[in-house]
């Protein structure tokens, strides 16, 4: 177990690429920051899974259904791993984190505060939102100071890469499809583009603790820009219009987006977005509907124990 005499001492440790491990006597502010970050990630994985689960019965064709089933399982699995890492920080148990989430007291990513109107909305989420998530997660993974989170993230990132391949394949189907399919995607893109830009968060403030303690190592603007440089040209090549009138490409081929209106993001941050209440209610319902599974697991474990003892 390591301990630091002051936050300045801890800063130095972090500045020298130190990795925090469980049992270290970390500054309480670091504990709170890293916990909040992982809790929000866990909540978002859970909501991502529920969002995909909704589309299992609606997805066109058996292959898409299988893929959505598997992705749902992946996301819920990721949430489970992350809740365990978060719980180990000792601030909230997994049960309390879920209680807070179901009561609408916790944060989850902005993209899960909106309705998905058509199949194309879900493809925007499967491709662009997953790509945005992967961009931010890869940046965290590169140099995150919290050891247990890094280890779990490594596995999550490998699986998200697979999701993106699937999302891109679905996008290609619409891009290569009929006018109706292409229009459906363009409409969805128009609805979601701002939320995708918001996903990376408002400009990182000077002295941001997440950056200071290397919980994440790149600013929100840097990540948003990385995403724009990669995915704007892709959308343009497929013949879609990125809904940003000020968007342009400079002589060095670099893309520049227009100013972002942040008003819609603040609503999601206080859980009063378009679909926030319904999503929270649905997550609570899913938890209640699956109580029998947890009971069955507990019962079978007890039964096995009793048999083992006999």
């Amino acid at each position: 177990m390591r301990a630091w005499s002051s936050e300045e001492d801890f800063d130095e440790f972090i500045g020298n690429d130190g990795i925090v491990e469980p049992g270290d006597a970390i500054p309480e502010r670091y504990r709170r920051e890293v916990f909040r970050f992982i809790e929000m990630h866990a909540n978002s994985e859970l909501f991502g899974g529920l969002c995909e689960q909704y589309w299992v019965s609606r997805a066109p064709g058996i292959h898409r259904k299988i893929a959505f089933l598997a992705k749902t399982q992946d996301e819920i699995g990721h949430a489970h791993l992350l809740y365990m890492v978060a719980a180990d920080l000792g601030l909230k148990t997994r049960e309390v984190m879920l209680e807070d989430l179901f009561a609408g007291r916790s944060k989850f990513h902005n993209v899960f505060h909106y309705k998905t109107h058509t199949w194309a909305d879900q493809i925007v989420i499967a491709f662009l939102v997953d790509a945005a998530a992967l961009t931010t997660q890869q940046a965290v993974l590169k140099n995150c100071s919290y050891g247990p989170y890094r280890r779990v993230l490594r596995r999550i990132v490998s699986e998200e890469g697979f999701h993106m391949r699937h999302g891109e394949e679905m996008l290609l189907t619409l891009a290569d499809g009929t006018d109706v399919q292409r229009t459906m995607f363009q409409d969805a893109l128009n609805r979601w583009w701002e939320a995708v830009m918001h996903f990376f968060g408002p400009p990182t403030k000077e002295g941001d603790l997440l950056i200071r303690w290397r919980i994440k190592s790149e600013t929100n603007e840097a990540l948003r820009d990385k995403f724009v440089q990669k995915f704007v040209p892709m959308l343009v090549n497929y013949g879609f219009r990125v809904p940003d009138d000020a968007l342009f490409q400079d002589d060095a081929k670099k893309w520049h987006i227009g100013p972002i209106d942040w008003s819609a993001l603040s609503a999601t941050q206080s859980n009063v977005g378009e679909d926030s209440t319904a999503r929270v209610a649905r997550s609570k319902q899913a938890w209640e509907d699956t109580a029998w599974v947890r009971q069955a697991l507990e019962d079978s474990a007890r039964l096995r124990e009793r048999r083992g003892a006999a």
Binding site: E21, P22, G23, H63, I66, A67, L69, A70, K71, Q73, D74, E75, I76, G77, H78, H80, L81, M84, V85, D88, G147, P148, R151, V152, R154, R155, S158, E159, G161, F162, R165, H166, L297
Partner: protein, 159 residues
């Protein structure tokens, strides 16, 4: 003729085995033990037989496509990829190299004697959390040695 057919089968097998699992970083399907057999028929068509880790695996069509593309580089008449369910796959078929790469991802594999160690710290103090994790071929454990959550590969046939 037979000699060249055997050579072709061996080369096709090598190419198929080198295909990466789409969800496991640099782990190949050969290291996972998914490549069952490779046949070349009289017309020079190659058939690759793979076994899935579990029947509902969502990566199967991606894996089949990747294998087909890889083997086609041999300029053969045709390539078909078929999944065979029996005999079922088990984690025992993962090669030593595959185990090492999986461990780096934080995924453990039971030894032939059935012992599981934490892929991070080597501790055997692992407590089961859920029998099925983010995918049906893995379970989730908690290592009290290094306080980390780990995945362990599982078969779906006998567990």
């Amino acid at each position: 003729m037979m000699g060249s057919r055997t050579t072709l089968e061996a080369r096709a097998r090598t190419l198929a085995a080198a295909v990466l699992d789409p969800e496991l970083g640099d782990v190949t399907i050969g290291e996972l033990g998914l490549v069952r057999n490779v046949h070349v028929d009289d017309r020079g068509c190659v058939e690759v037989l793979l076994t899935p880790t579990f029947l509902g695996c969502p990566a199967l069509s991606l894996i089949a496509g990747d294998v087909e593309r890889a083997v086609k580089t041999l300029n053969v008449a045709d390539v078909s990829v078929r999944f065979v369910a029996t005999p079922g796959w088990s984690p025992a078929e993962i090669s030593a190299g595959g185990r090492e790469k999986l461990a780096k991802l934080g995924i453990g594999v039971a030894s032939p004697e059935g012992n599981v160690q934490c892929p991070y710290c080597g501790s055997d103090e692992l407590a089961p959390q859920v029998p099925v994790g983010s995918t049906s071929c893995r379970s989730v454990w908690w290592c009290s040695g290094c306080r980390t959550v780990v995945d362990v590969m599982r078969g779906t046939v006998d567990s």
